[in-house]
Amino acid sequence: MSRDETTLSAEVLDADRPSEPLRASIHDLCLTPAPELDWNRIEASLTDRIARENSSLSARARRGNVVWLSAAVALAAAACFAFFVSRRAEPPEAPLAAIALPAPAGALIALRGTGEIRVGGQTVARGGALAQGARVEAAGATGVFERAGKVRWLLEPGSAVTIARADAPLIVSLERGATEAQVVPVPSGEAFAVDVTSARGNVVRVAVHGTHLRVARSGDHVTVDLSEGVVSIGAPPKRGSTLGELVTAPAHVELDVDDVSGSLRIAHAAEAVRAAVSLDGDTPPAPQATIAALAPDPIGTSRRVNVARGSAGDATAPAASALPPLCTPQTVADVVRACQHGAPQSAGVTVTVSTTVTLRVGDDGYVQSALFNPPLAPGVQDCVAHVLYDTRKTRFESSVELSVPVEVTR
């Protein structure tokens, strides 16, 4: 035992105090804050480690279960054989799978636009139910789905998802395009999640606790626009909730699935966030004035007939299989002016509004993000966003970033 471990008498210890120089040094050190740390990096690394640990534990558990599983299979085979022998004379019954229906994942409640919604390759009408494993495709139309009281979500035209999990939480795997959801908050855990799998097989999950969000993918690049609530973005856990980057609204998030921690970019400026689309049965107010103002523009006369967009099951519109013509910066300026002119304004007042709209266009030619600097009135921004983000009407040269200064006086 060292000298330091030989306990001293209580009297000696009671009388012991640090000297003044020592107290001064302690005081100095107490005044020194801990160095600034990159908490995001620490949290990302921690998340990865925990996810790997969970994955490894699950794998071990699966290996451990093999023996039990083998025994169970043997018992089941024996039971089946006995059952078959005892009932071979009776008429065959429906297979078990046909009786045990999978948990419903919701149903199609509205169809917007001119195309159709396919589930498992079959066109469905309103009321069509979704089940786990179903592949849902929006062919030229927007489909709005609902799991009553839990989540309402839409699939944008040209998008496809697979229902990865039908019980709580509902998980959709986004194959292409975009989905937008309004999720009823749950007291604990997650209510809804969107998985995106990269070409290399990596998966990122956007897990929702109660929120309004849109998740879009362009190849392995993912964009999340969060207009309400909180999401967690990270690797899907084997069990429990997603331990990832916690993002609070408003937020515009971009990331690459194969390098989430390295590519994650979060902008919390409200103007960076794509305007939320109403998921009510009624469509959001269409920017009629905007579209009307675009008569000579690429949207074209034949489309102007259909811009009332929207009502669920709009069967009067022609098929929208052709891509819209390319838009130009002038189109953007025209849209902003039209929306600004449509905004309410006091009589006898002249208002001049200046802004610069910066658009990021994905490799599919559709707008991924729109920033207004300085911001416009929310109603005007919504109006502009509805047009710019509408893939039926607005398409640009692919993979460009446009900065369009606009001044409107009225």
Binding site: S25, I42, L46, L243, L246
Partner: protein, 197 residues
């Protein structure tokens, strides 16, 4: 400190939201303790990550026999000591100036603040010379304000042993301060003022 909302129980049961809340609440305290025990180490972020990884792994076994903060202190101290042992072959404290007192910044700070930071750096270097057991007790008591009774729980030693380690830690540091040029002025000052020296 007790944790509201049963955060500890929920986190131990696998509620990741509760774990995140615990992490957000305590990460600053853990970072400060790590900094005081290790000095301006370049791998402090790795140590912090390891602390919370161990917390996540072990939380299910935390039964509440002690305060959560006591348990968290114990995990932190153990991780720091293990890290130091595994890194013993390389110097823990860099001889380079830490970034907060680099030459570029010196001109931006009042002289007194620069002096204080230099003294702090020198003191951290002295702390690093203490043995692990004495340094742990000293940091927890003198810098973190933890009582000897609680330190005894953290390090798993009798209270009297903890107090003895504290006694010797003070003596060793006082002797080193007297020999440290950057801190020698403190001795002079307190001698003139009629202090201990």
């Amino acid at each position: 400190m007790s944790e509201p909302d049963n955060l500890v129980e929920r986190a131990g049961a696998g509620d990741i939201g509760a774990f995140r809340a615990l992490y957000a609440r305590h990460r600053g305290d853990v970072a400060r303790l790590v900094h005081r025990m290790m000095g301006p180490a370049p791998d402090a972020e790795d140590v912090l990550q390891e602390v919370f990884f161990q917390v996540h792994k072990s939380l299910k076994d935390f039964r509440g026999q002690s305060k959560f903060t006591t348990w968290l202190h114990r995990v932190t101290v153990n991780v720091v000591l293990m890290h130091r042992r595994s890194a013993k072959s390389r110097p823990v404290l860099s001889e380079e100036l830490p970034s907060d007192v680099s030459a570029d910044h010196r001109s931006l700070l009042p002289d007194e603040e620069v002096d204080r930071r230099l003294r702090t750096r020198a003191f951290l270097r002295l702390l690093d010379k203490l043995g692990d057991k004495k340094r742990t007790v000293f940091v927890l008591h003198e810098l973190e304000g933890v009582s000897p009774q609680e330190i005894a729980e953290i390090v798993g030693a009798p209270v009297l042993t903890v107090r003895t380690r504290l006694f010797y830690a003070r003596r060793e540091l006082e002797a080193m301060i007297a020999q440290e040029p950057a801190l020698a002025a403190l001795n002079v000052t307190f001698t003139k003022d009629g202090g201990h020296e």
